[in-house]
């Protein structure tokens, strides 16, 4: 039998492995987990009224002033989020295409495909979240267009309340939150595994419990303001 030899292409380095890509995904994902928790908490200010919400929005722009100019911290944080988003999506698409190429002939028996559902949810859910993000940023950050019935002026709080009086806007957000919850559940658990923190039966159980709590708290926390506005518990004036 001939000796097995493998021509080496490129340099061998820990940075050029799929596991490194997973690390990149885990770390950028961790920043997003921190961010969505913060964002979710901030949204709950709408329950304290439009004024409190607007004051909170204004305060985000005065963090670390006068060392930084007005809105400086917010822009720095946004830049960091964009870098993390690029890293997260890049590593995801890289690993996705690698997995696609790893089994070009599929199984005939469908049961073999059952377990792929989680992976599919993660990938297509991620794409759905990316599309939602574009819509969400256009609606509340970049264009700030108002699809609702009320006049809103410059008030972010009034824009939120006016927008969520429209049922289909609420529906889009609820669907996005389902995707976010599932993404967070598998993502948080996956990150602990990728970072090497789920080495035993107990730590794995803890990691899954943490993932469940973060996913539930985030998606329910985000869902409360739109639902409260739609059903008239929170009013603009």
């Amino acid at each position: 039998m001939a000796t097995n030899t493998l021509p080496r292409t490129g340099q061998i380095s820990a940075r050029r492995t799929t596991v490194f890509m997973k690390l990149l995904m885990a770390l950028s994902g961790a920043l997003f987990v921190f961010y969505v928790l913060l964002h979710m908490y901030g949204n709950l200010k709408i329950f304290a009224g439009v004024e409190a919400f607007d004051e909170y929005a204004y305060h985000l722009r005065t963090i670390l002033t006068p060392i930084l100019p007005f809105g400086g911290f917010l822009w720095l944080f946004r830049a960091l989020l964009v870098v993390a988003l690029v890293a997260h999506a890049w590593s995801a698409f890289y690993l996705w295409s690698k997995a696609q190429g790893a089994r070009k002939t599929r199984y005939v028996a469908k049961q073999a495909a059952k377990r792929t559902l989680k992976t599919k949810w993660m990938r297509w859910g991620g794409v759905a979240l990316l599309l939602f993000l574009v819509w969400h940023l256009l609606q509340f950050t970049i264009l700030k267009f108002n699809v609702g019935p009320d006049a809103v002026g410059d008030s972010p709080g009034k824009l939120v309340i006016s927008s969520f009086q429209v049922w289909w806007v609420v529906l889009i957000y609820l669907l996005a939150l389902v995707a976010l919850g599932l993404h967070l559940y598998h993502g948080v658990w996956s990150a602990t595994q990728t970072l090497g923190w789920a080495g035993g039966v107990r730590s794995r159980r803890n990691a899954k419990a943490t993932a469940t709590v973060i996913a539930l708290v985030t998606s329910i926390g985000f869902a409360l303001p739109p639902l409260a506005i739609l059903f008239g518990f929170v009013k603009g004036n």
């Binding site: 061998i12 820990a14 940075r15 997995a99 002939t105 377990r115 989680k118 992976t119 794995r204």
Partner: protein
């Protein structure tokens, strides 16, 4: 027992394959799955047809040679190897789909036989310790704590059958690699090459065309040796450490 088998037939590595249906009759439930295929092959031989090629060696569940995707489950419905799967796990009249392991890193040679040399090349890349040959040193001269010895032994139970790759939605070989990383990483003898081992093995794994891990856990469920998912956790941790050590 009477069964209907749908089996992948492929004449050679480059030939176009297809699923072919074979009825089998008078199967004893005490037969192993491979013995059932032997019976079918005898019938095919008697009719002058080409028998179905499949891998097997020890037939006692310890060598890792056999391995079939049986109705979408690697090694079939029990936690064991295909050779130790018995027909009592099926019902009379069942329709059973038999396919080879599907992964581009495991190309089909013929029918149900796949080439798993990519696993050998991963082991060659780092799944060893470098030691001078000669008389074995006194075993007690290097103390190994019992829990570490146990975990090492648990991981060393991997027989390299490839069920983890076959069951993985990404056709990833991480459980196989993680088992070797854990096996050697728990022992004092594995320490000098620990960083180089993980980087070299993972690089070879990726180069062979296996996919990455998405932490689904289908591999650990399919493993006939019940190797747990936390060996992949260990692999990730070792690679992170190697990265920080500048490998």
């Amino acid at each position: 027992m009477n069964l209907t088998l749908k089996i992948w037939r492929q004449a050679g590595p480059r030939a176009q394959g297809e699923m072919v249906t074979y009825p089998v009759t008078d199967i004893s439930e005490d037969m192993s799955f491979l013995e059932m295929l032997d019976v079918l092959n005898e019938q095919l031989n008697a009719r002058g047809e080409e028998p179905i090629a499949f891998d097997s060696d020890c037939r006692e569940g310890i060598c890792g040679m056999c391995g079939l995707m049986i109705s979408g489950q690697a090694h079939g419905p029990e936690v064991t190897t295909t050779c130790q799967l018995h027909m009592r796990s099926f019902k009379d009249g069942d329709e059973i789909t038999v396919e080879p392991w599907r992964a581009d890193a495991f190309p089909v040679i013929k029918d149900l036989v796949v080439d798993r040399s990519s696993f050998d090349r991963i082991i060659q890349a780092g799944g060893f310790i470098s030691a001078n040959t000669g008389s074995a040193p006194e075993a007690h001269s290097v103390p190994v704590p019992k829990p570490k010895a146990d975990r090492s032994f648990m991981a060393a139970a991997c027989i390299g059958c490839g069920a983890c790759v076959a069951a993985c939605p990404n056709a990833s070989g991480m459980l196989f690699m993680g088992a070797k990383i854990t096996h050697l990483g728990e022992l004092p003898q594995g320490q000098p090459e620990r960083d180089a081992r993980v980087v070299s093995m993972v690089s070879t794994h990726d180069h062979e065309g296996f996919g990455g891990c998405t932490n689904v856990g289908a591999c650990a469920d399919a493993c006939p040796k019940e190797i747990p998912l936390d060996v992949i956790n260990q692999l990730n941790k070792d690679l992170r450490r190697a990265l920080m050590h500048g490998e």
